[in-house]
């Protein structure tokens, strides 16, 4: 396996090249532009057989992906922020029609005010669209998750679309040292695409997208819930199989120094790396801190996450997205998980890094200090607060 120094966008574009999907329909948007631009070079250079459809908007990109997937193709696209927002109605159609479309999402803030930098607002607003969501800590994981995403989404028991999230600029545009798998290993791992009910099977005509009213809609949504429930098991088995191939073992979430911890931080994506360093510093000072980084966010593995956190005295959930008038989206999941498990930790929610604001080690330290104080019996001042904000 070759060590390379590449950006997250290059790594994911390379994963798409290695998979060689039948159809990609895409429209450029920062910071995902560079990913599809690199992939389009592979198309131009004849490195893939993919039919690249250059459409006039992200709404059209997702619509073309839906058409191609319903037709019976292996389909991918990539987007960010406003692009994902413009896809919104089609996201529900992709999942409702059971189409395994693989979409890297390079996470970025939403307008207004206009901002091109990384936060998780785009993916969080789409968490209820019926798509599977994987989240990545770095370029290596974004690459690995993209390859695994094909196996998860296309699994015969699932057949659902999937987003592979990675932080805009921090992962997409920063150069990291990482490893690529050999092309044939990726090809063998993802395997041949199995068509399920393809529209272009003219011997067996069928209809997609029928009108389903009060007599059946409720049943179809119940079925979607059931299929989502199968995802966790498939993610585990695909992840373990990938570990044998790559030597890199992931899970439903990443757990760091959590087993004997008294206080814990839950955070998605690239901020986990910074937080782990600060946790090490506090461990050296005798404070038992740990971290949980969700990898599978939809469906959310409530039971497993609660089991990993419920022994803690205090938990801080860091959200790089906000739900105005409520708590951050990750906080809501963790609160629900712990309540159902009868968990005891005191909980606080910190909104951090919106619009690409840097997440600094000093902010992680501030959170650990506050958690330690709460764990010692100190009162929670504000359940939801903002990190690194002036004022």
């Amino acid at each position: 396996m070759a060590k390379v120094a590449v950006t997250g966008n290059s790594a994911v574009a390379n994963a798409l090249r290695q998979v060689n999907p039948d159809v990609c329909a895409a429209y450029p948007i920062t910071p995902a532009t560079d990913l599809m631009q690199q992939f389009s070079s592979y198309v131009s250079d004849g490195k893939v057989d993919t039919e690249l459809v250059l459409v006039e908007s992200e709404h059209s990109a997702m619509s073309a992906c839906i058409g191609a997937a319903a037709g019976g193709g292996r389909v991918s696209t990539a987007t960010s922020s406003q692009g994902l927002a413009l896809m919104w109605e089609m996201l529900h159609i992709a999942s409702g029609m059971s189409l395994p479309i693989i979409m890297p999402v390079v996470n970025r803030a939403l307008s207004a005010p206009l901002n091109i930098h990384g936060d998780h607002s785009d993916a969080m607003y789409s968490r209820d669209t019926g798509w599977i969501q994987l989240w990545s800590e770095n370029a290596q994981e974004a690459y690995d998750n993209t390859i695994m995403a094909y196996r998860i989404a296309e699994h015969k028991d699932i057949r659902l679309p999937i987003m592979v999230n990675m932080d805009g600029f921090i992962i997409s545009h920063s150069i990291e040292t990482m490893e690529y798998l050999e092309d044939d290993k990726v090809k063998n791992f993802v395997g041949k695409f199995e068509r399920v009910n393809p529209l272009l099977d003219l011997e067996n005509p069928k209809s997609f997208g029928p009108l389903i009213l009060t007599d059946y809609y409720h049943e179809y949504k119940r079925l979607q819930h059931e299929i989502m429930g199968r995802v966790k098991g498939v993610v585990n088995s695909v992840t373990d199989e990938y570990a044998k191939l790559s030597g890199r073992q992931y899970g439903l979430f990443d757990s760091y120094r959590l087993e004997d911890a008294e206080v814990g931080i839950v955070v998605l994506g690239s901020a986990a790396g910074t937080t782990k360093d600060v946790i090490d510093e506090y461990r050296d000072k005798g404070i038992k801190a740990g971290l949980l980084r969700p990898r599978l966010f939809r469906p959310f593995p409530f039971g497993e996450v609660a089991d990993a956190l419920k022994h803690l005295k205090a938990v801080a959930v860091l959200d790089r997205a906000d739900s105005f008038g409520s708590y951050g989206p990750v906080f809501m999941e963790i609160s629900s998980a712990l309540y159902q498990a009868g968990g005891q930790p005191k909980m606080i929610n910190k909104i951090y890094g919106l619009g690409g604001r840097d997440y600094m080690p000093s902010q992680a330290a501030e959170v650990i200090e506050e958690l330690n104080d709460i764990a010692q019996g100190g009162a929670i001042k504000l359940v939801k607060d903002y990190l690194g904000v002036r004022g």
Binding site: G96, M97, S98, L99, R159, N197, N204, P205, K206, S207, F208, G209, P210, I212, D215, Y216, H218, E219, Y220, R222, L223, Q224, E226, I227
Partner: protein, 97 residues
């Protein structure tokens, strides 16, 4: 007809049976009913061509009466009908009158 349970449905709400739209009788949607006045009909078949459903029944090469099980009463046939000597061969009447 007994309705299927959620765990008996095809994921993605894909309809695997060809021609099943015949089972979906949309005539009950109709608020206005087209009525064929055969004496004014020149058999131009504009109604047959323009009908967005397939609600103009044919008898060989000639137009027959409406298929009221599917006709939604959109009125396109009545609008397009050239009729004979200024008299329409299709007129819309309020349903249920």
């Amino acid at each position: 007809m007994s309705l299927k349970k959620w765990n008996e449905l095809t994921p993605g709400a894909i309809v695997l049976e060809a021609g099943s739209s015949r089972k979906f009788k949309t005539g009950s949607w109709r608020a206005q009913r087209p009525v064929w006045k055969e004496e004014n009909c020149i058999q131009c078949l504009f109604c047959w061509m323009y009908c967005p459903d397939m609600s103009i029944k044919m008898d060989g090469e000639k137009r027959a009466d409406f298929d009221y099980e599917y006709c939604k009463g959109c009125g396109i046939c009545a609008l397009e009908c050239p009729g004979k000597k200024g008299q329409k061969a299709i007129v819309m009447e309020e349903e249920g009158k």
